[in-house]
Subunit: 248 residues, 2 copies
DNA sequence: CGTTGCGTTGAATAAGGTCAAATAGAGTGG
DNA sequence: CCACTCTATTTGACCTTATTCAACGCAACG
């Protein structure tokens, strides 16, 4: 593709690659950085990687090389139990940062699998630490992203620990809806990238339960669902499901 | 208490306060720092705070001022749902770092409550960021601690999402046992600082279930439990409970 | 055009939740 | 020191929810 005659063939590609030109920069690692810092981050994030649907971005146990910012596509991360049980710990989309679980031991503690063809930006971790020593705004934003992951996890605990099946699924759909909206997509209509089984794993339910509850939501006019396509038709009712629980 | 006649009454107190002299330094924020860095951290961690049993260290919604390292005592953190439901997100003991959930929005996202009289070291967050720009080892260790919290959360998700009541409780007891051991206490005999209800909230179960499962464990000779006192009498069996699940 | 994976639905079952009652401590004030 | 109160805990009986097991439908794909 690159013309050897062109003295700077790489730059042409990088113009599109670079964080400062990325449409996700307000969601992603460079969010809130001034232009000087942004220029530095452009150099930090120097490689892209394509992960085909079903392929792994990293495996549990693998050494930490880099963090990954999702540019396009959709991934899941899953924790494994010795006996083979697998728990989906999260679904990740554009702008999300993955791999922070690996900083603790320098080895990834979960698998990252692409649910559709996905493109990620590689962020060499050692370099990120170095650069964030020089750029307080980058440092702070990185801390905020790790903290946000912790807060997200607390939310999942709340969901798994104290919600019923219907509430969990409502919360799940609303969360997806909100995240799509934040990325400029429709908040009311979207395609699920994951199977019922993966939703079930994430929500601590069996796939049959997911299927049943989706059907019930549809009967009740909250959503309309066909295969992977979901349309939220009664947002308020869906919200009411999780806000005011029937119990207590 | 302090004598005004003494020119340096504070230093006498600080000698005991200081991280470099703290028996928890291998578990806590200064873990793995060289002595120069440790001296800096001594200045960073400049205040202690006592939290009486039942009192809050911080409230959800409160502004982030500092992170807190537990020096002695026992705390819980809990996430609140709008409708009043409360989910215990974790139990924390000496050497644990609390408050990292607040970095994301500069406001705490959960409550921190002392389950017994607790002493914490206050770590002003802005100063921690500043210092970690100067001390790569501190920076890296802080990142590891945030990451460890993420990994811990993944473990809780696995527990809540795919384990049965008996497995959850076995995992919980083993986790406590291991953490006590790491702090130089008995791994086989300890006092629970939390109520059955709090255990239940953490594990996504009702207090009656906790009580029943504890009784069953006792009948089966895995543990002996009386009120808050627990003695693990068959560690292997307890481990086997979570390792090889009956299902699948 | 069969195969395969994913999803739906029904019936039976089991796990945990709910409700209720009894008990036991721990702490309090006389 | 004792009676009293309050809260935490245990245990039983019953009920609800989600799981399990099973059958079937559907769509994509070679």
């Amino acid at each position: 593709m690159a013309s050897p005659a062109n003295p700077k063939p790489v730059d042409v590609t990088r113009l599109k690659t670079v964080c400062s030109a990325c449409s996700l920069r307000e969601l992603c690692l460079p969010a809130g950085l001034d232009s000087a810092a942004l220029a530095e981050v452009d150099r930090l994030v120097n490689r892209r990687r394509h992960v085909k649907r079903g392929d792994y971005l990293y495996h549990a146990g693998g050494a930490l090389q880099a963090l990954y910012a999702i540019r396009s596509g959709f991934m899941k991360s899953c924790v494994l139990h010795e006996d083979g049980r697998e728990q989906v710990a999260g679904f990740h989309m554009m702008g999300d940062l993955m791999g922070m679980d690996a900083i603790s031991t320098a080895r990834h503690m979960c698998d990252a699998v692409a649910l559709e063809d996905t493109e990620v930006c590689e962020i060499p971790f050692a370099y990120l630490e170095q650069l964030s020593r020089e750029l307080p705004s980058l440092q702070h934003h990185f801390h905020r992203m790790m903290s946000r992951e912790i807060v997200r996890d607390y939310g999942v605990m709340l969901l798994l620990g104290s919600m019923k099946a219907e509430e969990r699924l409502a919360a799940f759909l609303l969360n997806l809806s909100q995240r799509f909206a934040a990325r400029g997509y429709s908040s009311s209509e979207f395609n699920l990238r994951m199977t019922r089984e993966e939703i079930g794993s994430y929500l601590g339910l069996k796939l049959e339960t997911i299927s049943r509850v989706l059907s019930r939501f549809q009967e009740d006019g909250l959503i309309s669902v066909r295969h992977k396509h979901v349309k939220i038709t009664d947002l308020a009712a869906l919200r009411a499901l999780i806000g005011r629980a029937p119990c207590q």
